[in-house]
Amino acid sequence: MFVEQLINGLAIGTIYALVAVGYSLVFGILRLVNFTHSSVYTLGAFMVYVGVEYLHLNIFLAILFSLVTTGFAGVMIDKMGLEPLRKKGASKISAMITTIGLSYIIINCLNIAFGSQIIRFPDLFNYGTFKLLGATIAWQQVIIGAVALILLVALSIFINRTRIGLAMRAVQQEPSAAAINGINVNMIISLTFFLGAASAAIAGTLIASYNQYLRSSMGDIVGLKAFAAAVLGGIGSLPGSVLGGLIIGVSESMAVYKLGGSYIDMVAFSLLFLVLLIRPYGILGRKGSTKV
């Protein structure tokens, strides 16, 4: 049981990490808690469903379709909702409330279009199980964890090794100096939203496939846990988000192993409280990076 739970926790943890990175990227660049992120995660999973069910695409095309549409939705959230506020020099709270409003619109539109009940979703990675250290492990978990991990590594390489990634870091650290070096700051922000939304879409799809269902409220709790993971690890820091995601994923599955399933949702937040008591800016966070 222990090994199974550990593997399960790591798989779920990498998915939390993938969602947490989206919060972290946007927070890093705009110093804004992006409340649309959890609804974008849900939207991503629904777009795959739309691709398969209504457009009759094969599953990989459907995922591609979701990546593009959801990523584009992320960009639109910034272009239509937030960029005008930045132009006006509106307060951070205005931007935050705008994201709350937009996420409410997205989720309830999904509700209107698809209903709030459970919808079956295909199991994408149903390859049976294998034995490891006497434990029976589903390939599904391994694949889900691996896909999320590969994406995280790719994202990290993109941010740390490419020219655009360098520009993202520059905008993050000193936005007012980025433009005078020839960086198109609005383009970089849009790109950040695209990356955040696309990775959330993948995460949503992986989770939907893991649970074999989706519903419009699926992002509520995952979004919050991922958010807790980002804060736990130190929001704005990419390795921090990954660490936070893994910690929460593993502690949750350990809690299930020790205490049973009913307390699972409290683990993340209790951990968050504890960590913030000791390290107010998260495990890898620094005070400087949280100026608000």
């Binding site: 205005s94 409330i97 209107i112 709790i221 804060v231 409290m266 409280f273 100026k291």
Partner: protein, 334 residues
Amino acid sequence: MNMKKENKSLYTKAVITIGQLWENPIIKGIILLALALFVYFLPKMATLYFQRIAIMVAFYAIGAYTAVLLTTYRGTNYLVAVILGACLAGAFGALLALSTMRLSGTYVTIVTMAFFYVISSIILNWDSVTKGSVGVLNIPAPNLFGMKLTMKNGGIFYLIMFYAALTILATQLIINSKVGRAIKAVRDDEMAAIMMGINNKKYKIIAYTLAAFFAGLAGTLYGPFMGYINNATFNYDICISALVIVILGGIGTVKGAIIGAIIISPLGELLRGLTTFMKGLPEWMQISQPEQWRFVIYGMIMVIMMRFRPQGILGGQSKLPYKMPKGVERKVMK
């Protein structure tokens, strides 16, 4: 200096907004009085209205559930249950104060939001105790020294009045005490208070604890009054609704909150009416889910107001006699 005024109007706003939400004319005054105290005691760092509402609702829920569960399932004496409910809320207040102590800005928001979710998640998921979404039914009427206080005999009403008097008295006493003055000093200007040698941490914890205690106390009234509670009584949608009302009317004006409530309150009914009306039309033209549409409209109000009138409909002209700017209502209803 401004803080005082702000807090006072927040106080009134809290009274109005949450009162509207529970749509109950008698109870709202007293419940919100206590909630408002909460606002008064909150340190300056928690200035974002939304998070205040969220934690108020959370503490309120703690008080309500503790009292209701004890009286309904354990047969605990009403007074004991009330005191336990308020104390538990107070304890959570202290905990929250501790965990936000060293944080600032966005981080306080994050932790208070997380706190709200922990509480709602406990209520929903710990259903062996809280009865989750089914809720607690048949909450017994408060029994004070052998006297049953019900709606019928008006007992509840007197109880509410008593709480109101008690809360006001306690607040006055606290505010005018040494502790109260120190809290105020920390709240108004933390740096200056520290310079004067006030232990800001200690008083922050006291402030949170007191505020949570009173919010919890107010919460204990809700169950017996309504006779029924479940997880939806204290959910995220309620916070959002309160937020929308305040945003629409304008943060910082009492009139604004009233206007917001007046515009928002009939929205649900209006959409339901529209649904019935449209039954005759072809299917694709029908609005089938008025509740969902209401939330979509809430979202739009938030986005549109932040973009074009972040100060609210009335904001910036609150001294003038009330006049609705042209087109606002249409924009809202769109």
